[in-house]
Structure formats: structure tokens, C-alpha cells
Symmetry: C2
Subunit: 262 residues, 2 copies
Amino acid sequence: VNEHAPLIGIVGGVGPYAGLDLAAKVFDQTAARRDQEHLPVALLSVPHTIADRTAYLLGEVAENPAYALAAVIRNLETLGATVVGIPCNTAHAPHIFDVLLAELARAGSRARVLHMIRETARFLAETLPGVQRVGVLSTTGTARAAVYPAVLQALGITVLAPADDMQVRVQAAIYDETYGIKAQSNPVTERARAELLAAAGHLAAQGAEAVILGCTEIPLAIPERTLQSLPASLPAVDPTLVLARALIRETYPDKLMPYLHL
Amino acid sequence: VNEHAPLIGIVGGVGPYAGLDLAAKVFDQTAARRDQEHLPVALLSVPHTIADRTAYLLGEVAENPAYALAAVIRNLETLGATVVGIPCNTAHAPHIFDVLLAELARAGSRARVLHMIRETARFLAETLPGVQRVGVLSTTGTARAAVYPAVLQALGITVLAPADDMQVRVQAAIYDETYGIKAQSNPVTERARAELLAAAGHLAAQGAEAVILGCTEIPLAIPERTLQSLPASLPAVDPTLVLARALIRETYPDKLMPYLHL
């Protein structure tokens, strides 16, 4: 759009509402009092072209969604996007993300794709530096691919995940075609929220000192940054919010609002 | 993106949150149970390139925002957008919209730009067929340019607007740099909502049988489709929702959900 004004690219559709949530958080975290002070953002949401990331990691579909994600990024680049975010934790599993980066390199892409999981680790280190045990709520694909442990264990943080029976309930809270967040996003169902809070309580009982809302659908159901309904209050880290802040930091750092622990 | 799958284009940035609101309403009004069933949407939000529409109509800025809006649409077309919506009522004033269409024709555009005001008139005729007096809450630019009367009077509908002192409060509820919606969108301030509800009550007292939320910032403050706090309950028509439904109707009509009068 204008090479002197970096354009933030957002890979939408993974899921569709998560794309909008990331864009809204970019706007929320920007110091702006009128339209013209807001940052340039392009979002392309073509979910019919992108296979489900968890289904791929579990071997249920053969096609690696990395190629479709790369095609979206190439399209965003034609509009001028220089820094890109993908609001899907599961897409950051190495079997997808590494293939995505290789495909972008092959295609001559110059876009820089921020890594939501590494950004979340950096955010944890900066804002909750004493934390040693962190719970992660995520899709079964993200959990099986050890997306968060691969990054956090290198920082000396122990990652706690729900036990198998609880993980089935977390996955259903995201994917169930009647009450799951992907089917009912606006508003989210009470059941989806209740199941996720139950899983967070289960992680707190195991000793988690913070919980990462490690699927971009989850903050749609749990918008608060501190969970109050558990035995003790627990900080909830929203990787979509973290990614939004990183996108601003890498393009227009002077416009980044202070982080508020709400 | 795929010539066999029409892409919905959204002109974002006018304002930034209104663009996201339109995209969210496209998703909300789509029959979909999983990511892949959602419609393809591209949104480009480059508000720094687009002069304020009301300021232009009031003669406060010289540059017609039509050219920047046309440039956004041309960019959306490079991604494959065939049907486009602009979630800004004021941009539909003839002095802007007619210039936009001429500029698109000159540039060889093949995109079809839906007209939010004419769509709202069609929606009123279909869903509230007996209504004869309709109030419109809008920016001062939309009001002075008679954007809604130009369309609705041809249908025999009388348009009621706030008196001048009340219009100043409506404009401030949108634009004020401390409490206005463009400065504080998420969440909107209590004051902005209260001023707009007061203006709606004022229109109801004049005999309005329905009120059009005729600035795309207003539904961010008044999400309900029936106003209960007025002397009598009053249907509130949201042109952003109407435009979202029209975008689906013109691309994937089989996916359009029934309209719910909530």
C-alpha cells in the first residue's frame, strides 16, 4: 500500500473469529484517538483453503496446511505486508511452521512471520519472571505436538497439560459442532466456557502458577486476564494479545500502549 | 484467491473497528459449524490514507476520500474480491460515493460495491413494511448530506433527525477524543452510549417508529436490535448488519442465516 508505512498482515480464517480478534487487539493496543492514527492492517480469511491444523497433526488429513498458509501470506505481501501474524497456535507446530517458512523462502517471500509461541515465552519472561510451572490449554494437536513445551522448557519452565479425559473436554469446547467455539463464537456458549474454566482449575490444582490460553479460540470464551473463579486467582496469558503487541512493536513501536494486567 | 469462490471485500479503516464489526457480522450471519465452512473475506484497513468523510463534506479538508477508498477497493480486487462493502455511512454521500464509482470505472474495476444505504432501505421495506417515520442517528456529515432522506423519501418514508443541539451531542459521542467511540471503542464509554440513547429517545418522542443506527460506530455502542429504555420499545436497524447480510446474499446466498429480531 505504501512502502514507507509498514503494513501488518494477518492470516485470517484459522479460525475466522481469531483473525478478527487479533486485528481488534492490534487496534486496542495502539495509541490512537481517531481513525487516521490507527495502524495499517490487511487480513485475508480464506478458511476453505486451509485444512484443519489439528486434523493434520493427528494424521486425519494428508494435506499439510502450511502451503495454504504460505499462499495467504504471499497474497498479503502483494498488498505490502511486511510483518505477519498467524493467530493459530497449532499452526506453530514445527511440522507445519517449518514447512511454511521453507515454502515462503522457496517462493521468494520477504515477509517476516512472527512466532506466536516464542513471543508468548518472551512475554512470560518479561511480565511473570518468577513463574516456573505454567499450564497450557490447547487443541489436542498443539498438545501432542508439544508446541509450548518445546519453547518453554528451554527457559526452565515446566509445562502442565490436562490429563487425557480433561483434554477431550477442552478439544470439544473448541470443536464440538453444537456447543464448541468454532461453531458458536458470538456469543460463545456457557458450556464451552465452563469446560475451559474447569480445565484451568484442574491445571491450577496441579500447581500451575499461570495458564496460557493456547488456542486462539479460547480467549473468545475467557476474555479476562486473571481467572478469579479458581481456588486462587491465576494469571491467564492470551497469546493473541501477545502477538498483537509484537506486531505493533515490530512495525510502529511508538504506538504500542502499556500492557495492563486486567 | 480462487475465481470459483467469490471473495467478499471489506473496506476497513472507516473506522477501523467498523471494518472488523462488518467482518464479524458476515461470519455471524453465515451458516457454518467449522472454520472451513466460513466465507472468504479480505479486509484492508489503511485509515491513514483516507481523509475523514464528515470533515470533507463539511469543507474542513479539501481531499475527497473517494480516491483513497477506490485505491483500497482496487487492492482488494488484486486478491480476487468481486463484491465489496464499505462500512461507513458518510462515504455513501453522493459527493463521495459517485466520485468513488467514477474513479473505479476509470481504473477498469470490475468489483461491485454494494450501497449500504439502499440496502438499508430495502431491508426496512422487507422487515418493517408499515413504518412511515424513521429516525436516523448519524454523523453531522451524513445528516447534512441528506444521505438517508435521499433514499428513504423516495419510498414514502419520512426521515427524522436530531435537532441541532442534540446532533452536536451525537457527533461528539462518535468523535470526541476522550469519550467518543472513535477514541474508545473496546469497550465504548458509558457516556457515548448514554448520549446516543438520549438522541434515540428524542427521535422516538418526535414519532419515529424505528431508528437507523446510521454511523457504523453507533452499533458498537448500541448492539441491541430493540431499544428498551425509551418510552416505548423501538426497533433499531443496524446498517452494518444489513450490509453483512447483503454481502452474503450476493455471494453465497445458500449460507445466509435467517434474520433474528433480537
